[in-house]
Every structure is written in structure tokens, then in C-alpha cells.
Subunit: 532 residues, 2 copies
């Protein structure tokens, strides 16, 4: 008699499955390695993920109201420090209260609500491969790769300031991962390139090595303009035509508390003029750049995000915008930022409630403060991803590879998280409820205490019945040990190496890649070889 | 200008926090080590967790109906193989169709629905410490420790068949973890004890080393009866009185597909006679003991669970019961069981929808198939826990320490998961929305671009503002490296060692512990020293 609760006799199952096992190969290896041959295992389609499972809602309706009211009060009574004279002049002309000495701008609720109302509740971005088009808003869910770290790490070369080659490697890994749908402003900093022209090199690499939606570095007008030009070239469109079918985005941060700097507002307004998408993300770490209490931090985040979204809409109504929520907390012991905490997860959920109130698409993030891709990295990333997905985020930035609170892009973590995202994608996929899926014949035919391994109902479905992860190891302990006792970290190292070794860039028309190169050459000459 | 997206300058924060840092100590060390002194950091209270965030619902209403109808059809057309003659006779007397040759019992929907209707939608279990009382049903959430593995592992002694000392260590770790609320049938097998009397040793150890709700080994009548006797002694109650305020539970499994064995039904019915709680858990691994398709597996699980719950209710109406969902899938490549998969998570969510339809308390599980407490172990456990919590499970079995698909209880994983559960508890705790929590003064007073570290609003709240994890390491990379580059696995090893070293059993009246010992001595004499 079994004294164990639900301990599966795996050896018995292994034996029972012999007839099936002989027929197939490692599914995911086939996918990464074109030379491997074998049967193709169907994946969920690229993109198109929708959350049909509902939302988790920590806030009650009256609490959403309170957050709204307090955020409006922050904007009316305290205001935002706007460093750009041009933006202050613009807002003054629209009736905002502007003090040019302190650079403070105050706006009232009518101004904010009137302008955010012109933002589209849903919009799409189309990259050079139209099959990779993404939709933001509603219950759409899109995953973006790690963005922004000044360092990278992998187990071969350790932790180091990131270089152009790392930037490129990460683009290739993102392209190879099925449920990485898009890129943020940059996969990692290109510290070895000329600061004035590296945005050109980065975008060229991105457009050659990937056909997915990407973002522009949000540092002033010049860089985003170059980036949007290049996306237009890659799509074979003029800048004017692309304004009607946007294909690029940028993320700008509010320098919380309550500062909008020139580079950020310039980038945002240039994107708006070109009809491209802007994500507005206050960086509100509770206890540091925002109060320690969650209602206050959300009110501050809401004030900052809505102010900038209203500014963008007042500049060019209808500009596609996304409300970015990035409220986590610091460790009050050391001041170190923490992510994937219960507080971070709650704000990811709560921010979705705010975005739905304003009918604005929502950006959230997958995050971890761990220094190594271990259990902590996984549980923090899971916590933030669940908060993001079931908070209703339409764009989940930093979904894979973001480590050390954003100081590092980890090659291994890209693969670990990328596999988790595949799992989420499978979880979000519709469940087939056709009558045959109730398997009533099989249930009647398999004797009590028997098993379903060899039944026709199983054999017809076993290939695609379940999620086939790239990284999870489900061998029994003895086999796992005999095969080298590889941890998830070990396996992730193997996976990125294989992915880079077997990487094939997506097809591109030679005339387009030439045009992109020409653009970069011309612009580099214009910008000149300013010193680093 | 920052080119990074949301990369926190942690050194700046560290500096800014100097005034606070000097004042306090490691919060969790204080908790584990009574000699450490220092300020006490308030934890969320023991138990009492409720899910106010809502449910995730993969099934539409008509799909729930379809699952219900198919499960009723399974019971009416195919039936359950009931190995106990006594149970078959009982069910025959109530009008079920019984074939004694094949041992098959068929029941119709009227029978099932009439009997499950007498099950309480909510009930409580009271252990020897009434402050540790737990409620099951509604939106209550309770976490149980790993239950059942035949092996244990830790980094010092490796993986090995579990012994009595391991059983006891795990009881002590469970007692020391704040948000482990109860135990399953046994923390790990006591392979070195006499098989006929080890249930007495186990229960004695549990009742001495812990004051939390525990379970009885579900192997026949004798063992659960002994266990319930002992819980009654520990509470200073008679068996008769305890029937009115239940204090023990057991988990029984249906041997899926469609077999109810004698030991399980005997244990369940003995518990019912004593008014104690029974969890009924079909073990339905899709592709092995259930069909590969999710609707079919859920219908089979539902048929099996409702059949046994109806049996128990027909035996003693009003018996506290819990519907156990344990539907995951096997790896179709090897037949190995897999847990924390997207399919497992979906069934955790969907089973909650079924339980709410029947107004039955719901048991789910935290699970992983990993062979080591690495990133895989963490993400699989997170996936299953999120599915369980936001599926609406009232009892989450195996919440901490369950590894290798239940073949191993891991000391390190107990601590890792225990810390994750604290995080979930914090996430489920109500958010304070008092006006002061909006911190409007602080927001107005902290200058734009400034920080909130030193503000009075922060200083008044910093101690308890955020979740203070036991295991997560948020040091910056340089400090983390200087302190030995410890992974979460390394830190978990330290934590269980400290927890066991500093463990103090909860107070117990000497007369009660003596009475428990006497009971064990007497029963061992009665059972006799049968060979192992």
C-alpha cells in the first residue's frame, strides 16, 4: 500500500512508454539546430497571445478612485519639473501653470483627462516582417527582451561591461526565442562604440539580425529620428507612410520623483511627430524615488505617467502610447533595489487596474535582483511576470535576461526566462474543448488501474499534447546524475551557445540591407567622428 | 543621460540610507536565533490568509458544465472499481449498481449530487494550540509542508532513503517556518522504523515538536484511529468531543484511473466516523493515469473525487471533506511525471472553478520535478503555487520542499519555498489605504529628483513597510562576491542548519506529553513487535 502522497513510480511509466519513445527525438534541439532533423513539434504561433484567464485585482474600485484623485492633486498642487523650455512653453500655451524659475509645471484634472482621452486604447506595431506585427491594448500580451543593462554576464566570460558583440548576441538570442516578441531600447549598452553614432550601429544590427519589433534609444531627437528612419527603410516605407502604420517604439522614464528631462521629452515628442509609439515609465522605487507606502507610490507613478502621456497627446493627438508601471521597492536595510517582491507584484497587478480605468495600453516588466541565475532569479522573475501578465500588461519588458536589478543582461537567464515565457504562452493558448478531447472512449476502454500510454487517443495527440520545454530536465535522479547532474544554469549555458552557433539571420532583401548600410554611412559622416 | 532602461544606481541609494542602516539588524536572523536580540520585525500573523485578489479562470461556464456532465457519465456508464466489499455493500444498499465479480460500482448524478450537498462548504481544524486553528473553504489559503517522499536530500548528506530523524527534522523546519500552516500525511517516510508502529512514533514526534494542524497516514482504519486518538489527547479532549471540533485530517488518493483501494476507503470512512477531515485526491497524470487531453483528465478527476466524496458523505453526512486536484502531465518522451508545467497550472486553476461549482473546499499542491533546488525547481514550484492560490485552493499541499516529482523532500527546498510562501502571504495581506498612506506631505516636500529615504513618512514605516525575505540576497554584485558569491541554494543550506540548531519545540503540558507517550507505549505493546 502506498504510504507516499502522490509519488509517481516513474520507472514503470518509462517502461510503459517504450512504444512511443522510439519514434521521436529531442523536440527543442530540432528547433535550435536545423541539422538535427527529426520530427517537428508544433509550437504555439508567434505572438498573438491573449489573456483569457482574467485579471487579479488587489485594488477595490474606491481605492482606484483614491489613487486617481491623489495623483490629480499631485499634478495640480505640486506639479512636475519640466527641464525643457520648449515643453514648458507648449504647456503654458495650453493653460498649465508654469514657473520658469523653478521649471515646475502644474496641470489640472481637466487638462490631463482631456488629453489622455485621445490616446488609442489599442494599436499595432509592424516590423519589417509583417508576420511579426504586435498589438498592444485589450488582453494582448507581448514579451520584450532584457533592455538597458550596462553589463552582461555569462558563465564562460564572467561579468563585464557590455560590448557591441554582446548587444548583437542578445539580439540573436531574442530572435531565436519563439516567444520573445520585441526588443526594448537596447539589449545591452555598446560601451565600446562611439557614443555619438552607436545608435546607428545598434539599429543596423537589430534590423539585420532580427525581423521583430524593436525600440529606439530615447536620448534626444536625433537618435530616435535616425532609428525611425532606419525602420522605415527596412520596411520599404517613407517616413510619412510609416506614420500611418507605426513600426517602432521607445521607452522614456520619468526621473522620479517628478522630473522630466530634456533628452526624454525630446525623444518622446520626436517619436510622436513621426507617429511612432512611446512608452512612458516613471521609475518609482518605493522608499527611494517614491514613498514607502503602496497607495502613495501608485499615486505618484500615476501622476507622472499621465502627465507625460497628456503632454504627448497634446503635442500630437492619437500618438500610440503605453502607460509604463515600474514600481518596486528598495531593501530598507541597504537601499538596494529589490524586484519580484510581493510589493512589486502587487503594483504590477494594481497598475493594470489603473490602465484599464484610463483605457490605456499597459507596460510592465519581468525583473530580478539576484546576482546569479539561481532559484532566487527564477522566483523573483516568476513573481513579477505573473503580476505583469495577470495585471493585464500588454507589453512585458525585460521578460528574459534582466538580472541584478537591471545592471546585467545574463546570457543564461535569457534562455531560462525564454523557456518560462514559452510555458506562459502555452498556458495562455486556448484549450481545445471539442467533444473528442473528452476521450470518453479511452476512459471507458482503459481498465481501472491501467494506463493511457498506448491508447489510440494518446497516440494521436502525444506529439503536441503538452508543453515541451527547452530547459526543464524531467529525467529521474539516476539518469540525471549519470548524465552529469546538470542544473538549470548548466543547461542554460549549453542552450545559448547552441543558439548562437546555429543562428541564421532572417531573410532580408539585399537592396534593403544595402540601403540601411548606406544610411548609417551617410549619417556617421554627418555626425563626424567625435571622440568617445 | 541614462541610456539604460530603469537601472537603479544602487550605490547612491546605499549612501543615502546610512542614517537608517545603522539602526537595525538582520531581521530574519533575529527571528531564527533567539540569542540574536535586536529589533523585532513584525510578520504577517500566522494563518488567516485570504485571497482578495480574485481567481484566474481558464474555463468558461459551459466548459465547466461539459466537464461536469462527462464526469457524471463516467460514473454512470463506466463506474469505479471499489476493492472493499464493505463499501460495495454500502453503496448497493443506497441504490448504486454494483457488480461484485468485477468490483465495479456505478452511480448516477442524483446519488452523487445529493450526497456531496451534505459536505460543509467551509470548516475549521483546531490543533493542540488553538491559535493555530485553520479554516478551509471560501477564500482561505493554507500552506502545507512537503508530504510523502520516500527519500530526502540535503547538501551535507546527499540523497538517501529517509529515516525517522529526517521526518523529525522536517517537522521542526515546518514548525519554524511562519507560513507553513500544517502537515500532510507524513513529511517523509520513516524507513528505519517498524512498519506496524511507525505511525505512532511519527504522530508522537509531530505532536511534541509542533503545535500546528497535522494529518494521519491513510493506511487502513487502525492507523488513522491511533492518530486521531493522539490528537485528541494532545488537545485534552475525548474522541467524542473532538468529533464536534475536528482537529485532524488525512489525504487519500484515488488510484487513477478509477480504483478505490481498501486501505484508502477504510481510512477515509474511519476518519468520517470520528468526524475528522478527509481530502480526496485522484492522482491523474495526463498521458498516464488520465487521458492526454485536459478536458478529459479534468472530467476523470472530477468523477473520481466526487464519487469518493459522495461515499464519505453517505457514510456520515457533514463530514468535513476537501476536493483534491492533482492533475499534471507526464513527459511524453520518457513517461516521467512533470510538475509546474503550464498544463499543471491550468488544471490547478480549473479545478478551483469545479470546486466552487460544488461549494467544496479545494486542495491543490506546489510541485516540481527538478532534481536539484535550482532555477527549474523555483519556476516549477512558482507556476504550481500561482495556479493553486489563484485557482482558489484552500489547502496547498507540498507547498515547501517537494522535489523530484515527490520522490524527495529537500531540506534546502523547504527553506527556499518557505521563503516564497512568506512572500505570497505578504502579497495576500490587506493593503493599508488610510489617508496617511498616500503620503501627500512627503510627496510635496521631497524635491523633484530627490529621494524619500530620510523623510519622516519613510522613517515611521521603514521597519515593516516591505517584505523582508529570509533568503533573497539583494546585495550589489561586488558585496555579494566579497561575501562568498552564495547562491540561493547555498543560503538555503545555511538556513535549515540554523533553524534546526536553534529549534525550540512549542510548549506542551508535561501531563499531556506523558499521556501521549503512554498511549504509544500501550499501543506498541498491543500491536506487538512484528518484524519489519
Amino acid at each position: 500500500m502506498p504510504e507516499q502522497d502522490e509519488t509517481a513510480p516513474s520507472s514503470q511509466h518509462t517502461k510503459a512508454l517504450e512504444p512511443i519513445r522510439g519514434r521521436r527525438r529531442d523536440r527543442r534541439r530540432d528547433r535550435n539546430d536545423p541539422s538535427a532533423g527529426g520530427e517537428e513539434i508544433p509550437l504555439t504561433p508567434f505572438g498573438g497571445l491573449r489573456n483569457h484567464l482574467g485579471y487579479l485585482t488587489p485594488l477595490q474600485e474606491d481605492q482606484i478612485d483614491q489613487i486617481h484623485k491623489n495623483s490629480m492633486k499631485i499634478l495640480k498642487d505640486f506639479g512636475i519639473k519640466v527641464l525643457s523650455q520648449e515643453v514648458r512653453d507648449h504647456l503654458k500655451s495650453l493653460g498649465c501653470l508654469v514657473d520658469d524659475d523653478t521649471m515646475m509645471v502644474r496641470a489640472d484634472e481637466d487638462f490631463i483627462m482631456a488629453h489622455i482621452a485621445t490616446a488609442p486604447a489599442e494599436f499595432s506595431l509592424t516590423p519589417r516582417n509583417p508576420d511579426r506585427k504586435l498589438t498592444f491594448g485589450g488582453n494582448h500580451v507581448n514579451f520584450g527582451l532584457v533592455s538597458g543593462p550596462p553589463n552582461v554576464s555569462d558563465r564562460v566570460r564572467g561579468r563585464r561591461p557590455s560590448q557591441y558583440q554582446d548587444f548583437k548576441d542578445l539580439i540573436c538570442l531574442g530572435q531565436s526565442l519563439h516567444h520573445i516578441h520585441c526588443y526594448g531600447n537596447q539589449t545591452a549598452a555598446t560601451n565600446d562604440l562611439n557614443v555619438h553614432t552607436r545608435h546607428l550601429d545598434s539599429m543596423l544590427t537589430t534590423l539585420i539580425c532580427s525581423d521583430k519589433v524593436t525600440s529606439c534609444m530615447s536620448v534626444g531627437r536625433e537618435r530616435v529620428t535616425d532609428a525611425v528612419h532606419m525602420v522605415a527603410i527596412a520596411r520599404g516605407l517613407s517616413l510619412e507612410t510609416m506614420a500611418d502604420t507605426p513600426g517602432a517604439m521607445t521607452n522614456i522614464n520619468v526621473n522620479s520623483p517628478r522630473v522630466l528631462d530634456v533628452e526624454m521629452s525630446d525623444a518622446a515628442l520626436a517619436m510622436a511627430e513621426m507617429g511612432q509609439a512611446v512608452i512612458v515609465t516613471p521609475f518609482t522605487l518605493m522608499g527611494a524615488m517614491a514613498p514607502v507606502s503602496l497607495p502613495a507610490a501608485l499615486a505618484q507613478q500615476n501622476a507622472e505617467a499621465l502627465f507625460v502621456i497628456a503632454l504627448i497627446q497634446s503635442w500630437r493627438p492619437g500618438t500610440p502610447v503605453i502607460y509604463g508601471g515600474f514600481t518596486s521597492n528598495v531593501d530598507m536595510k541597504t537601499g538596494a533595489p529589490a524586484f519580484g517582491t510581493p510589493e512589486n507584484t502587487l503594483t504590477n497587478l494594481a497598475t493594470g487596474q489603473l490602465c484599464r480605468r484610463y483605457r490605456l495600453p499597459y507596460r510592465s516588466s519581468g525583473c530580478s535582483a539576484s546576482n546569479v541565475p539561481d532559484a532566487q532569479a527564477a522566483y523573483e522573475t516568476q513573481m513579477s511576470l505573473w503580476g505583469a501578465i495577470f495585471g493585464g500588461a500588454n507589453l512585458i519588458y525585460h521578460s528574459a535576461g534582466w538580472m541584478e536589478g537591471g545592471l546585467v543582461a545574463s546570457y543564461e537567464k535569457v534562455m531560462l526566462d525564454g523557456d518560462m515565457l514559452e510555458g506562459f504562452a502555452k498556458m495562455l493558448a486556448p484549450i481545445d474543448f471539442a467533444p473528442a478531447e473528452f476521450a470518453m472512449d479511452a476512459i471507458g476502454e482503459v481498465e481501472p488501474g491501467g494506463h493511457f500510454f498506448g491508447h489510440a487517443h494518446t497516440l494521436e495527440r502525444y506529439k503536441s499534447a503538452f508543453f515541451a520545454p527547452m530547459l526543464s530536465d524531467w529525467q529521474n535522479f539516476e539518469n540525471w546524475q549519470a548524465n552529469g547532474s546538470l542544473s538549470a544554469y548548466d543547461r542554460a549555458e549549453e542552450k545559448w551557445k547552441t543558439a548562437l552557433k546555429t543562428f541564421t539571420p532572417p531573410q532580408i532583401d539585399p537592396s534593403i540591407s544595402e540601403a540601411l548600410s548606406d544610411y548609417v554611412t551617410r549619417r556617421k559622416a554627418e555626425i563626424g567622428n567625435r571622440p568617445l
